[in-house]
Symmetry: C2
């Protein structure tokens, strides 16, 4: 029987790759994206394109506005997106974002009867966000199994992080092998109106370096 | 200096008591309620009245619609609220609700600079929800400290559960001693249009028994 899974789909390179991995594993993928007050809608448009291209069982966009809290360059227009990486956790960190996203995914998964939640976190070529590390996702899995009916009844949840130890180049090679069209994805924190990437922010730099290291052409649409 | 705290405020008896406890402790209380697709707005009205009566620093109602997922008598009108407790976890359980609420509270707390999150969970006179048990809140505290910038930088979060081991009667006695006006609170899962309690659901039964055991008059407005 096909196993239902929930896949967090941001519209970026990593989550598109994760969706391809879960699809290839034969799962019925229920993709979940968030309209959380992010600066631009380009990544949600990308998520919709990817979900369609990969023929998911279902794609939902969940509304949950974190911009009222502020505290991040991604949700607060008064905090500029930096062009050069600084020391420590960058200002693009959104407080508790993955905890919130995984929690909502957990609620949906429990109702669907899905026990696997896929998330494209990566602790190698990443921005240093605390909620992308394996100790965080492991702790969340414990919460999932203590805080739900299914979990306490022994029908355990698993947080699946297939990219966690991969370099960006490895992720790209994997995705290309699985047929992911990375031209559909958006990684940039500061796209223009035509959804073209800035090429300068942290997310753009990590992405471009990944294609270079993988020795593969970068299909990103850049500005100017 | 007054310490900022986030207090989850449902509008029920327990969370009103928790708010009184946090207020008495001298904290600047930032109360957080959720419009999550619950059957009736009476509990949000109650939360607003309580927040006003207790002069909180701030009260926010966060929108996050879980009714699209279904799976609970509290968010799905096709599932009736039971009048008698059955065996196991009841159908009023909302999948991952406290995980979701605590996650959003965590995001807000981090931005506010609050490191204490108060929640009125109780594992004695309760409905058997898995996300009201101490092992759950302890696991969530671990997630909070692994998944946030503040947490990993050593400015630790604490999930405060002052009611966790109290009976309903003890909670009521504590609240009355702190001046809580329980007539402002709504516990019932099936209030009528005038926000009067049914007197029959699990929440009404636990509440009424609490007042009886505390030997205090029950100020609840009942139907009929």
């Amino acid at each position: 029987m096909t196993r239902k899974t929930v896949v967090l789909l941001s519209g970026g390179l990593d989550s598109a790759t994760v969706l391809a991995i879960a699809t290839r594993a034969g799962h019925a993928c229920h993709a979940l994206s968030f309209r959380y007050g992010q600066r631009h809608g380009a990544e949600l448009d990308a998520a919709r394109r990817i979900a369609r291209a990969m023929a998911v069982a279902e794609h939902r966009v969940f509304d949950l506005d974190l911009s009222g809290f502020g505290g991040s360059a991604l949700t607060d227009r008064n905090i500029p997106v930096p062009e050069r990486p600084g020391a420590g956790i960058p200002v693009t960190y959104v407080p508790a974002r993955n905890t919130i996203f995984l929690s909502v995914a957990l609620g949906w998964a429990e109702v669907l009867g899905a026990r696997d939640i896929y998330i494209g976190v990566n602790a190698i070529d990443y921005s240093g966000y605390p909620d992308c590390r394996p100790e965080f996702t492991a702790a969340f899995e414990t919460v999932a199994n203590l805080g739900t009916k299914a979990g306490v009844e022994g029908d355990r949840f698993h947080i699946r992080t297939p990219l966690i130890e991969m370099s960006k180049a490895q992720i790209i090679r994997k995705g290309v092998a699985l047929g992911v069209d990375y031209a559909l994805t958006v990684s940039c924190y500061a796209v223009d109106e035509a959804a073209r990437a800035c090429g300068r922010c942290d997310a753009c730099r990590l992405r471009a370096r990944g294609f270079a290291e993988a020795g593969l052409p970068d299909p990103t649409h850049y500005q100017g």
